[in-house]
Each structure stands twice: as structure tokens, then as C-alpha cells.
Amino acid sequence: MNMLELAKQLDLQALTISDDLKSQQITTAYQSDLLSCVMSGGGEKSLWITLINNVNIVAVAKLLDIPVIIITENAVPEESTLERARSEGISIFLTPKGNYQIAGELWASGIKS
């Protein structure tokens, strides 16, 4: 599914936007707040839902080729984190909803793996 459409549907707020977001197709997603679990479970080209908002999420996403992160519960990251995400080409979205709810909505939108 197209990430921009998904962002509109789920009412996500864009914090950083990578150059290729327009053409980004999302087919799988992963949810975890433990970085090592994401390391073993997060697939490339997937979307990552997390409550973590520190700069380490960018390094993990970059390493795993995860193009999009959704940060839940309005946990606004620091500007330095967003700065890093911009330079690494990773898109970060923000939502007031919790991990469980946003995962449910993604599932309902057709992201079922």
C-alpha cells in the first residue's frame, strides 16, 4: 500500500519525509519497543511501529533498511533525532494512538504481515 495514502487514512502527522516516500509501497509492518527484537524481527522495506523516540531508532532503521517509523502516543522525538532521520532518508510519522490501536488500524487497512 502507498505510504502517503496510508498516512492520510491513519491520520498520521509527518515529522520527517524521505525523498522517495511518494513511491514507497508498504506491505509489512513490525511492532516492538525493544531494539534487539526489531533487529531480529523487522524486515527490510517494512514499517516499524514503536513508542521509542530517541536517536537510536534511526540507526536501527537505517541498518535494517526500514524506510518508515510510526512513533505512537505522541512521543515527539528531539530535533536531533529528526535531523538524523532526514539525513539518513528515513520517514518518521507521529500519532496520538497507542501501539495496539495503530497496529489494529494498519491490519484493517490491509497490511497483514
Binding site: Q13, A14, K22, L34, S36, T50, N54, N56, A59, T95
Partner: protein
Amino acid sequence: MADTANISDASAARITRVEELAYELVISQVMTKNLITLNPNDSMLSALDKFRENRISGAPVVDGDQLAGILSTEDMIRCLRDGRIDRKVQDYMTSNVITVRETDQVVEALKIFQKLRVGRLPVVNKEGKLSGLLTKGDISDGLLVALQKDYEAEEVIRYRASHLFEDINSDRTSLILRYNVKKDDFSHGGAASNNIKKALMRLGATPQIARQCGIAAYEAEMNLIIHTLHGGVLKVEVETYKITMEAYDDGPGIEDIDKAMQPGFSTASEEVRSKGFGAGMGLVNIRSCVNEMSLISSKNRGTNLFMVMHLPRNTHEGKAEPK
């Protein structure tokens, strides 16, 4: 209410390489310089012959060294329809000609092409004299050549990197990368491992192998940041058929290695856990990413973690079998 409006703002700021080139290239680099020109007093018939002989669809008209106008196929058709092929070029040429300067960026010409429906633009130099002619075709040719040059430069760099080992003769050739990792430096956590991943890709490793090494290196890097007394070193040795990574530090050492290897076991502090670390899966992840892993440590000494990845024989692109 969340606001998605800023998406379009950011997309607007996006500039492709082609657009960048349109700003980098100047008109004199892409214009046609060997000009076929007409004189205002030439007959339309001779202009028609010139168009046919040279297979062109338009030409600037020059009087002395001054640009007097431009004659296009449309003007020619108008003349033929009137049945006045005996008339002079100056009777049918367009005389209010828009010109561009040869030092202008290509993007300036693109703007004019977009705004006005003209097929060609005469190019003038600093003195205002005609120095060339520019068509949309010249611009796309110029952009293609520039893109090709970009691509070739990138290819050369890639080729050199991935063939690094071929031209060097020794009994055993390797490349060693070292990264100093500081204790508690969370803001740079992952920098070394991302650099390792990039370097391996440059050296011709497959994305899959670079990714697996990157994950293992990341876990080792974070262990140095979180668990050591003074940080440590992440060392990567790249050989033709093997990548060996080692993370070492000078303490405090691991008390019970078997326990440390258990999934879910962690000694990370509450503060570290709140950052998303300390899942107790680091060493487990490493073991699943590399072919061999070994851990040597003793309390109050240091820790050495070895990770080895064997490379399939075709990992280095274009690499032949060993001679």
C-alpha cells in the same frame, strides 16, 4: 487533529538529479555550435535548399554580426502557401527573437521553452553576438551525457572497490577497518555498524550479507556502549572469502558467559532499558546473523567477541575463481 499538509511542502523541496543538472549545466555546454545561418537578403528558395541539404527545421538569420531574426519550418510553410518562394528571408522570418545567454544555466532555457511555444532559441555571447543555437533536443542530449558521466564515475568507484583484492598479490590479503566506540555514547550508537554495512556494500558484498554483518556489528557496538567501563574497539577484517568482526574492551568482563548467551538475560540498567535496549537478545541475534561466533571473557579482565561470516564464492561481483 493531525496535520498531513506538510507532506506536500517537503515533496516540493525534493530535487532530482536531472533537475540538479539543469542548474549545474550552462547553455554553452549543450548548445549546437556549428551554425548554419541565413542572410536577410537570401531568397526563400535558397533557405529551403539549405534546410533540406542540412536536414534542419530552422536557422538564425544574421546580418553582419548581428542577429536579425530566425526562420523556422512554419515560416517556410507560410511562404509556400503564399506561393512566394521568390521572396526574401527577411519577409518571412520572425524578427523579434528571444535569445538566451551562453553563460545562463540550462534551466533558464527550459523555463522559456515551457512558457513560449518556440522550437529553438538563438544563443548570444557577452558581446550580444550569435554563438549558438539551442533546441529542446540539445538539452535532453546534454542532460543524458551528463547523467552518463555521473554514472560512469560512480561505476569506476564501485569497480575499484569491489576489485580491490584482485590486483594485490600476497599470500593473504585483507582490509582492516577499526572503529573506536565510546562508553555511554548513545547518540552515536549504530554509527560504526552503519559504516561497516556501507563499506561492505562498497566492497561488493551482497545486500543480505552486508545487512547481517551490520546487525551483528550493531549489537556488538551497543554492548560496548552499554556494558563496558571505557568503551572498546570494533574491528572488521575483510578477506576475499571471509569477514571477521571482533569487538573488544578492557572490562568489566562477563561473569557467566552461559547465562549471558541465554535469550532474554540482561544486566542493563533501568535507564538503558527505557531507551529500548536491554532486551537480552543481543548475543542471540549475533549468533543467528553470522556463521561463527565466540565469546572470551573473564571477570575484571575484558571481553573479546569474535564474529565470522563466510562469503559464498560469487559474493564479490565479477570476481573470478582464485588464480
